[in-house]
């Protein structure tokens, strides 16, 4: 072997294959007498699935479209099933997507593509051309519109404003007769290309329309079958008198007509997509196939088409779904003309081609994901502090939040017996100001907002038009015409839209500002919380359900006195740039008070002991205030509010289920556990936890009515549980008011 040969060599299934300068991989295969998939008509134009292989770890590569390069590692696909995914794929760097904006994109730069592009030569329109021959293979058209092309350097995402011109030419029709799985069968253009490349094909017979310049024995008649063992050895044709003729050969060149490469046009059927040149031509429809494989990708034979059609699948789209023909590697490139012909021959009209959807080429996961990003979970300004304290972080309510800091019992008792901090920056926060601010909130909330005095706060439900609970939070009145609203962490984005939409719909004169991302919030809670705040310079903290602006540890805070934990609590809203300083100061000042921060895991138990609901966890899509036992939060004597009419109607209907509290000895059941009344389904648990102050498991859950009564004793997790009133802990709420 000389050095020159080694420099033009790649490996195929462990064997060295030599190639010539300018060879595609497939041409190099053909020089060595190799058919990469064992057999099937080759087109050398990227239209068929018969030359695919795995190249350098990427499967389903059309070898006719790839230039042979030294050192390539090529593997054949298994005869049955799909090639294995590389275990090393995750180590590959991400594929880049580049976005290009233009007026018109022209796909295909053959003669018709060039002509189409030249239409715009003397205009100021920005034209982008994409040409597979130049390494820009268009794989799909999406609504937008967006044209996605694959290149060696990554993906191109082209966004045309006006028009997509498809000049992708026409494909040659492949033969569907018995024996079409053999090697040695070529489309006419492919045969000419191989001949031009100097590939030895021995005795060629040519049938149908043939291009000039191919040295072949011309055969007249209708092709009946190919004969041979792995490779074609003869073709059989039948003449107009019905006489069969068998012609020996080594290679067959087939010219059965052309079919427009209109997959991209069909993908963009409801967009400004125009086919030009051969891509716009009428399709040649081949004779109805009588036998043989129609779809090589899904291995569908003419017999399969017949059996599925006999089941009543007369529509092209249904036949496709019934057989899977057209759903494989070549996306109907070979079978579509034959399925149309098949159905037309069965008495149906010639049906239009089936729908095309992106992508029309096999892409790697990296190529598919190019330009896409994993959904980002926001972090509070205290995120690094939590991690430094050893918190286990979890995504909760759409944010990264500390689940616990390693010892939930310590966290729990710090709240109940001393003082604790919790990062509640994730709460939705909205400012409402304007002459109509009160009117807006009166219409939005079922509580009497007018009775909230400046400096006071109130818990409120937010209902939809059907009277179902959307969210809950606080209404805090700053001035006559200015309010602070809070929403749940997970509901804040929706609630902002809800408030904005209604304000706009009613044409109210208000100013709205969402401050969720701009303000940090730390909840200082526990019986020693006042003492801690006193050390931080706050000698006169607000009373329960009051709020004011104060300085705490040198940080300006809007302080809200309320309680989710059941203990004395103060929510300190402040600029996010001050969060770390405030957090550290409070922890330091409370170090001898037994201060510990607590995470969500502890918070969930604390609020459960108080019977506080979490909207979305304890409520269902159809939870009315009455069903969750929150009638006290609804003032039906108000003139009007969203959901009022529905509540008036549904209040006339007997309740069939209600959210209630349960106690149970032993460990808490899983949330979602079924509640039984003897052997009958009676509901399910929405929240559960072990209450250390009661020394029992406590739960909230939906309980069905039986004969207009809620059962007192039920079975949960195979053990008796008892319905009790909530709150489980400190029912008078005295501790929050200390």
């Amino acid at each position: 072997m000389n050095i020159k040969n080694i420099s033009r060599q790649f490996t195929y299934d462990g064997k060295a294959i030599q190639f010539k300068e300018g060879d595609s991989v497939l041409v190099a295969f053909q020089r060595s007498g190799i058919h990469p998939t064992g057999g099937g008509c080759l087109c050398l134009a990227g239209d068929c699935p018969h030359c695919i292989a795995t190249i350098d770890g990427i499967s389903y590569v059309r070898t006719c479209q790839v230039l042979a390069r030294k050192g390539m590692l090529i593997e054949s696909h298994p005869p049955d099933g799909a090639p294995l995914m590389s275990r090393d794929d995750w180590q590959e760097p991400g594929v880049i997507a580049r976005n290009i904006y233009c007026d018109v994109v022209v796909i295909g730069m053959g003669k018709s593509g060039q002509n189409a592009a030249s239409e715009f030569a003397h205009t100021d329109k920005k034209i982008v051309t994409l040409d597979a021959q130049a390494g820009q293979e268009v794989v799909g058209i999406y609504p937008g519109p967006l044209v996605v092309a694959r290149t060696e350097d990554g993906m191109l995402h082209v966004h045309p404003r006006e028009e997509i011109i498809v000049a992708s030419g026409a494909a040659e029709i492949h033969p569907v007769v018995p024996g079409n799985h053999l090697a040695g069968i070529l489309t006419a253009r492919a045969a000419l290309k191989l001949a031009a490349a100097g590939v030895k094909m021995n005795h060629i017979v040519a049938i149908g329309t043939q291009p000039e310049g191919l040295d072949a024995e011309r055969v007249v008649g209708e092709l009946i079958r190919f004969e041979g063992n792995e490779r074609v050895e003869a073709i059989v044709v039948i003449n107009e008198n019905g006489i069969e003729n068998r012609i020996k050969c080594d290679t067959v060149s087939i010219g059965l007509g052309l079919y427009p490469r209109d997959t991209l046009v069909r993908m963009g059927h409801d967009m400004a997509v125009r086919a030009v040149g051969a891509a716009a031509r009428e399709a040649d429809i081949p004779p109805c196939p009588k036998a043989g494989t129609v779809c090589h990708c899904a291995n569908v034979t003419v017999e399969d088409l017949e059996s599925v059609r006999d089941l009543g699948f007369y529509e092209l789209e249904l036949l496709k779904r019934g057989t899977l023909a057209g759903t494989g590697t070549c996306q109907g490139g070979i079978c579509l003309p034959y399925i149309r012909s098949f159905l037309a021959d069965k008495g149906e009209k010639l049906q239009p081609p089936f729908t095309a959807r992106p992508v029309n080429r096999q892409l790697t996961i990296g190529e598919m994901a190019a330009g896409s990003y994993h959904h980002t979970t926001p972090r509070t300004s205290l995120d690094a502090e939590h991690r430094q304290l050893g918190a286990r972080m979890e995504r909760f309510g759409g944010w990264w939040r500390p689940w616990n800091y390693g010892n939930i019992l310590e966290e729990y008792w710090a709240v109940r017996q001393a003082v604790s901090l919790c990062d509640v920056s994730t709460l939705g926060k909205m400012l409402v100001s304007g002459p109509d601010a009160l009117e807006l909130l009166e219409r939005l909330y079922p509580t009497k907002v007018s009775t909230i005095k400046p400096g006071r706060s109130r818990y409120a439900l937010l209902l939809d038009e059907r009277g179902y609970v959307l969210d809950d939070g606080m209404i805090c009145r700053d001035e006559e015409t200015r309010f602070n609203l809070t929403f749940t962490s997970g509901g804040s984005t929706f609630c902002e839209l809800w408030v904005r939409d209604w304000a706009e719909f009613w044409g109210l004169d208000v100013r709205l500002l969402n401050q969720t991302m701009s303000l940090g919030a730390i909840n200082v809670t526990g019986p020693l919380s006042k003492k801690l705040l006193g050390r931080a310079g706050l000698d006169d903290p607000p009373n329960f359900l009051h709020h004011k602006t104060v300085m705490v540890a040198g940080v300006e805070c809007r302080i809200f006195r309320l309680s989710f934990t059941g203990e004395t609590s103060f929510e300190l809203h402040h600029a996010t740039s001050d969060s770390v300083s405030l957090w550290r100061s409070l922890l330091k000042l409370g170090s001898d008070l037994g201060i510990k921060p607590h995470g969500i895991e502890t918070l969930l138990t604390l609020r459960l002991e108080k019977g506080h609901i979490i909207v979305g966890q304890d409520t269902d899509f159809d939870s009315t205030p009455r069903r969750i036992n929150h009638n006290w939060a609804v003032k039906l004597e108000k003139p009007e509010f969203i959901g009022k009419q529905s509540i008036l109607r549904t209040n006339k209907i007997p309740l069939n289920r209600q959210l209630v509290g349960f106690e149970q000895d032993g460990s808490p059941p899983n949330e979602g556990a079924v509640i039984w009344k003897k052997n009958e389904y009676a509901g399910y648990v929405t929240s559960s936890g072990f209450s250390h102050v009661i020394n029992k498991s406590v739960m909230l859950g939906w309980l069905e009515f039986f004969n207009n009564e809620l059962p007192k004793e039920v079975i949960i997790d195979g053990r008796p549980a008892y319905r009790v009133s909530t709150p489980f802990y400190d029912p008078e709420g005295a501790r929050a008011r200390i």
């Binding site: 880049i96 972090r379 300004s381 500002l513 991302m517 701009s518």
Partner: protein
């Protein structure tokens, strides 16, 4: 890539008329977030506006960096699935690399701003 930092600012919500006729402080960068809302990249008070019900609050919630135009545009070409303004100066906002971003384009540099909770993610995606 320059490190991200907090951009102290003032958020102003007022009637569109008041916003349009406001006498913003000279040389301050005023980003029009909505018809009735601007982000002024410095501390201001209500004297610039004719709306007694306006909301004017200091805000340290935006984090970002000035990036050279070539580096910024290269990143945006990869990560921004919407068309960027061609004129300079110009303001734009939307998802970039799946993160809410506000952009201020000047001839030779671009200001990238994002809400603080997304700052780490954007910084990582710009590396």
């Amino acid at each position: 890539m320059p490190a991200f930092k907090v951009f102290p600012a003032t958020r102003v919500v007022a009637t569109p008329e008041a916003i349009n006729t406001a006498n913003w402080p000279k040389d301050s960068l005023v980003l029009p977030l909505a018809l009735d809302e601007v982000l002024v990249l410095e501390k201001i008070n209500s004297e610039f506006l004719d709306d007694p019900h306006s909301i004017i609050v200091s805000d340290t919630g935006f984090t970002g960096a000035w990036i050279s135009a070539d580096v910024g545009l290269e990143f945006l070409e990869r990560c921004c699935e919407w068309e960027l303004p061609q004129k300079r100066p110009a303001f734009a906002q939307g998802a970039v690399a799946d993160i809410p971003v506000k952009l201020w384009f000047e001839e030779d540099r671009i200001l990238f701003l994002t809400p603080g909770p997304y700052a780490i993610a954007l910084e990582n995606r710009m590396k």
